[in-house]
Symmetry: C2
Subunit: 336 residues, 2 copies
DNA sequence: CTGAAAGCGCTTACAG
DNA sequence: CTGAAAGCGCTTACAG
């Protein structure tokens, strides 16, 4: 579809009666051009009143860069936490003069992927993606964070980003729980990330001598049955994928007459606003989003600079326990 | 920052040994060119293995359009509902061959606004913006939805989008409540929209003969005091800005020993996932996001086509009551 | 201080 | 079927 054309710098030049180049110099504040104050003012005035706005495509083409970083996200539900992370990334990149565009590919048909449409200096994807997605992204020149080859990284939840799930387990272990369950979200788009987090929980449970009795998708419909099964299997606590899943499990337990935390402790992940408000308030784990955002930004800047972008040896991303009402020592069903 | 250069179509042409134009015709599947199957295949193969990807800036410049719609959002917290709305808008535009970029300007410094950087066919803002913002956006050629001049529209909450707040009031009136309070969110970024919704609640309350006793910002810290004050003032119900605010008020009430809904009814807005999970589950109002999304998309397409983009006489956006546990008939403090 | 011009990498008539 | 070329609207040396 053709677009109504706009005023060009050429026309501004004509209106003022100066050369095309002069207009460019004034508009871009090009240093070392000594243009008379009067000329400068006239150009600026004319540009303003003609409604001149530079054509960004032409600008990007001529300059060879655009100062845009395009971040491709998995097709996740974007919750408060994700949104917060994106904001922090945008801020970190902004400090370096880059503007962040966050975009999730959608299923459908006619529209083309954004990385074919906008002139980004860097297109990067934020893991986890499955193998097929990684291949497709790489074929399109999309860098992926963290780098899948990076040792010690298993998607977004692996390696240095493992503190959250570990802390969930540690908290329950410290309270004296021995048998726990893992509750996954129902949304299939989260299956991959949930798998990552579950693996970390499972490993840490092994280290701390806990039994992970069950690992189950939990939505509003199925949560009540899951809670019953877990109690029957001797569970005294549940690790939830995130605070929303924790609230689903908690809500189901309460409605089934199971006291939280007296009969079942439940810990969430993310410290989303919901966790503090829920009754009972939800014990959870807060991860250092700003630190992750700064890694992402640093990764992007290194890639743009053409440097090898391996994550190197930065410190592990910290997680903090946020203890609230939904966890306590096991009062019943405690195994030895 | 200069970017590492990429393979051009020129180089593909050289590699294959055909003219630059031929490459373009093959790549774009230009009709009416009758290129031999062999040539076509060789071009495609070479492009693939050289890793050719078209330069989008050059493409946009030469074509004069980009198939991008840039949607500028107020700097809101993006919750599930907003995200859902954006997804629906993206889908609706996708059907017309456009790719949506959603972007919120952030406060800070170095990065330039996205509309100066990407070659969008249309830049539109989704209201509400305050007067100052509207002026700034207009100066940058940003179209605003809904059009502020449009009669019967007062920002995003006005006119045809008024069904939600009205329904909140109607539900409470139908139940027999006579004195109600309005609970606003603490986030200052939402002040403008909250003002819109409050106005609609106030008007509808007047129509239904209800008294709006108080209108107050409610966060976790202040909610308990607010609940006490409301009860003392004879309120039997609260209209909340959205489900999160409703959950804050409900949580505070329960912790203060005030029974919900027996002593205080609370109704939210949006039907976010939280509303169903909370204990007690929250009565709320669901708005037809898809209908709004389709309006937004239609508005965009009309603007791009250069047509007058007035919203015209579309039907009002529907809202549906979602009755749950947090509202009931007033048991106490009922006025006459 | 200013003008004439090449070049960014595409698209797309226009000749052959 | 293919080649030579103008043009999109900028930036930016290079002469004057």
């Amino acid at each position: 579809m053709k677009i109504g054309r706009r005023v060009t710098a050429e026309e501004v030049a004509k209106a003022v009666g100066v050369s095309r180049a002069t207009v460019g110099f004034v508009l871009n504040d090009t240093p070392g051009q000594s243009i008379s104050e009067d000329t400068r003012r006239r150009v600026l005035t004319a540009a303003l009143q003609l409604g001149y706005r530079p054509n960004s495509a032409a600008q990007a083409l001529a300059r060879g860069y655009s100062d845009i970083v395009l971040l491709v996200l998995p097709d996740w539900p974007i919750d408060d936490v994700m949104h917060h992370l994106l904001t922090e990334i945008a801020l970190a990149l902004d400090e370096a003069g880059y503007t962040l565009v966050a975009w999730s590919p959608h299923v459908s048909g006619a529209g083309r992927p954004l990385w074919e449409l906008i002139p980004a200096d860097l297109v990067m994807g934020m893991a986890p993606f499955d193998a097929e997605q990684v291949a497709a992204l790489h074929a399109n020149g999309v860098a992926i964070f963290p780098e899948p080859d990076d040792p010690g990284q298993s998607g977004h939840g692996g390696g240095r980003f493992a503190a959250g799930p570990r802390l969930q387990v540690d908290h329950l272990a410290d309270l004296g729980h021995r048998r726990i369950a893992y509750a996954r979200p129902a949304d299939p788009r989260l299956a991959f990330l949930a798998g990552d987090r579950f693996r970390l929980v499972h490993e840490q449970a092994g280290r701390r001598g806990l039994h992970v009795v069950d690992d189950r998708v939990t939505d509003l419909g199925s949560a009540a049955a899951a809670v019953r099964d877990w109690l029957n299997a001797g569970c005294t606590a549940v690790v939830a994928y995130n605070d929303y899943v924790a609230s689903v499990v908690t809500g189901a337990a309460l409605r089934a007459g199971v006291a939280v935390p007296d009969e079942l402790s439940i810990i969430g992940h993310d410290d989303s606003p919901l966790a503090e408000v829920f009754v009972p308030s939800l014990t959870t784990v807060r991860i250092n989003l700003r630190a992750i955002a700064q890694e992402v930004a640093a990764f992007a800047l290194r890639k743009i600079a053409g440097a090898p972008a391996g994550l190197g040896d930065g410190p592990a991303i910290a997680a903090t326990l946020v203890p609230r009402e939904s966890t306590a020592t096991p009062a019943r069903n405690a195994v030895r």
